[in-house]
């Protein structure tokens, strides 16, 4: 098991390194010059100043040298300096990682719970209005552009139903309040962004759960369980759902990248101070060290989540535990 995890982590490390190298080269090939962008932030510059900036940032060296230096720094945990924020990229990312993880993890959990519940509901009903309603609801949710759903919720909760905050992650007026008040405040701010993400993502879970449950419920062992007089709840949750959980897990792992993409848009809509907004802001300002740092962080998150999914898969399916 440990050997397996080590191998997967090494493989993941190579993937993340690949992401960094490709994007480093791509961003250096981009039209527009980093030195000019930095000079622009300073309010214009002469040729001498531009040359000085290039020398300062190592932009006058050949591309392979720049790449080697950059990779060497990353290996030591140094992601470089942000041109725009004038702070180390690692501290920028550290400040933004928490909010993104909070948003994405909450959305993933809620989407899984609600999606699986809807799927079970649809599979149990066998015909009638319930499965049709579930399919109609999830298909409609899945077709909505996530940023538009978010903006419409902002309109609804800002003007018509002002019970939830529509912007940011915390209320500045509560800065000095106790930790319970502050936690509740963050939770209130979290509601709308999470609902937006969940609406888009629960369709997949409902669909997969429904299909897998229908298949499992038709199996012989379920008939045996029923014949032994087990109550319907035991049949559904103890026996059927445990067997239907594997494909749901697979989809949950595969969906994580999409969830991050969605979070990027949701963060923009709700002014959520996360990584997605950092990526967007730094791309617009051609602050490439920050962009690369966020890309590295996002790829690492996907790798870790895929590994966790794999481990969960092994826990859920005893047959896989012996496979090296």
């Amino acid at each position: 098991m440990t050997g397996y995890i080590a191998r997967r982590l090494l493989h993941g490390l190579f993937l993340v390194a690949g992401v960094v190298v490709v994007n480093f080269v791509l961003l250096r090939l981009a039209p527009g010059d980093t030195a000019t962008a930095i000079a622009g932030e300073m309010g214009g510059a002469t040729a001498d100043v531009l040359a000085a900036i290039r020398a300062d940032y190592g932009l006058d060296r050949p591309l392979p040298t720049q790449l080697a230096i950059y990779l060497g720094h990353i290996a030591r945990g140094d992601l470089g300096m942000s041109h725009y924020f004038n702070l180390p990229v690692s501290s920028l990312i550290a400040a933004r990682l928490g909010p993104t993880v909070l948003l994405v993890a909450s959305a993933q959990i809620v989407a899984l719970v609600v999606g699986v519940a809807l799927g079970v509901l649809a599979a149990r009903a066998r015909g009638g209005a319930v499965p049709t309603l579930v399919t109609a609801f999830t298909t409609a949710c899945h077709a909505m552009p996530v940023f538009w759903t978010g903006i419409m919720l902002v309109v609804l909760f800002a003007s018509i139903l002002p019970v939830l905050p529509v912007e940011g992650m915390s209320d500045l007026r509560l800065r000095d309040a106790g930790w319970i008040t502050r936690t509740l405040d963050v939770a209130r701010h979290l509601v709308l962004p999470v609902v937006t993400l969940v609406l888009v993502h629960l369709a997949q879970y409902a669909r997969i759960t429904g299909a897998a449950m229908r298949e499992v419920l038709a199996a012989d062992f379920i008939r045996v369980v029923r014949a032994k007089g087990a109550p319907e709840r035991t049949v559904l949750f103890r026996h059927a759902l445990r067997n239907a959980a594997l494909p749901v897990l697979t989809v949950a792992g595969l969906q994580f990248g999409h969830l991050l993409s969605g979070a990027l848009l949701v963060e923009t809509v709700f002014n959520w101070p996360g990584l997605g907004r950092l990526a967007f802001e730094s791309l617009l300002r051609r602050d490439y060290p920050t962009v690369l740092g966020v890309l590295l962080c996002a790829a690492a998150m996907v790798v870790v989540v895929n590994l966790l999914t794999d481990l969960a898969y092994r826990l859920a399916d005893p047959r896989l535990r012996t496979v090296p």
Partner: protein, 285 residues
């Protein structure tokens, strides 16, 4: 008159019974195409023209049925004009993603071994990078135009198709009729494109509708973020431009979003119906 129903008609009618959602989706999609054609060829009005005061509320009848945006442009004209760029970008992007995905997946699945390993590593690289983030990086490399945006989306959207195509080719390549064709002396090219591909087509066609919805939503997202072409009136661009004023006027954001939603829904319904028609075993859930 032969007195017999045309077999095509009969097949069409039976398909309508198996997958009614395909018909609904197709019809809705035709309406969007008609909007696009009308706006490009018949509607002489320029969507960028300022025709009235900003933020005139929608009246639904008479002139300015959907009101005006933050600059006083006719929102109904903007919506009509937004159909063509949205559809054409989605079509080109989905086409590119399908060609890349099917080609790479077919090579990996058919030849297996080292080539399969190599191509799957390449696919994995695209899967650890959130697609929208990568698309954002790519569009900043070029000046945004409908062409570059379509190419970008196509370039990030192919991996799911590649995985599906690989699985199908892997499954079909060892079936008896393929082995028979191989024994009869068919070359790799003939086997892949003439023997296996037609049999792998149904799930790939269904997945193509999924790629189209992804492309529409990505185009909208990029335009919304302001990374699209500011000179093209696409639905996402209208939302992005009007978003700042949404608390004063909801309609310039609500209507284009509704248009994107209905178009994506139409394509999803088409895919769902096609899935039922092409794969009788599926319960369509």
């Amino acid at each position: 008159m032969t007195g017999r129903a045309d077999p095509w008609l009969r097949r069409f009618l039976s398909a309508c019974r198996t997958g009614p959602s395909a018909v609904v989706g197709m019809a809705a999609l035709l309406v969007v195409c008609a909007m696009a054609l009308y706006s490009v060829f018949l509607d002489g009005r320029d969507p960028f023209d300022i025709v009235s005061l900003p933020h005139r509320a929608p009246t639904f009848v008479g002139p300015l049925p959907l009101g005006t945006d933050y600059l006083g442009r006719d929102l109904a004209v903007c919506l009509l004009a937004g159909a063509a760029p949205t559809l054409s970008v989605a079509a080109v992007a989905a086409g590119l993603a399908m060609v890349l995905g099917v080609a790479l997946g077919a090579l990996a699945g058919f030849f297996g071994g080292r080539l399969d390993d190599l191509l799957m590593r390449f696919t994995e690289f695209f899967q650890v990078l959130p697609a929208l983030l990568f698309a954002m990086v790519l569009v900043t490399l070029w000046s945004p135009s409908p062409t570059t945006i379509a190419l970008t989306i196509g370039f990030v959207a192919w991996p799911p198709t590649a995985r599906l195509a690989r699985a199908e080719f892997l499954r079909i390549r060892d079936l008896e009729y393929v082995v028979a064709a191989r024994a009869a002396g068919a070359g790799a090219g003939h086997l892949m494109w003439r023997v296996i591909l037609p049999n792998a087509a149904p799930p790939l066609i269904v997945s193509a509708t999924l790629v189209v919805t992804t492309a529409i939503l990505f185009e909208a997202a990029l335009s919304f973020l302001g990374l699209g072409d500011p000179d093209t009136m696409s639905w996402g661009q209208i939302i992005g431009a009007n978003r700042e004023y949404v608390l004063d006027a909801w309609w310039p954001v609500a209507f284009p979003g509704l248009a994107i939603f209905l178009t994506v829904l139409a394509v999803s319904l088409l895919g769902d119906g096609l899935n039922r028609i092409l794969d009788p075993k599926s319960d369509g859930a």
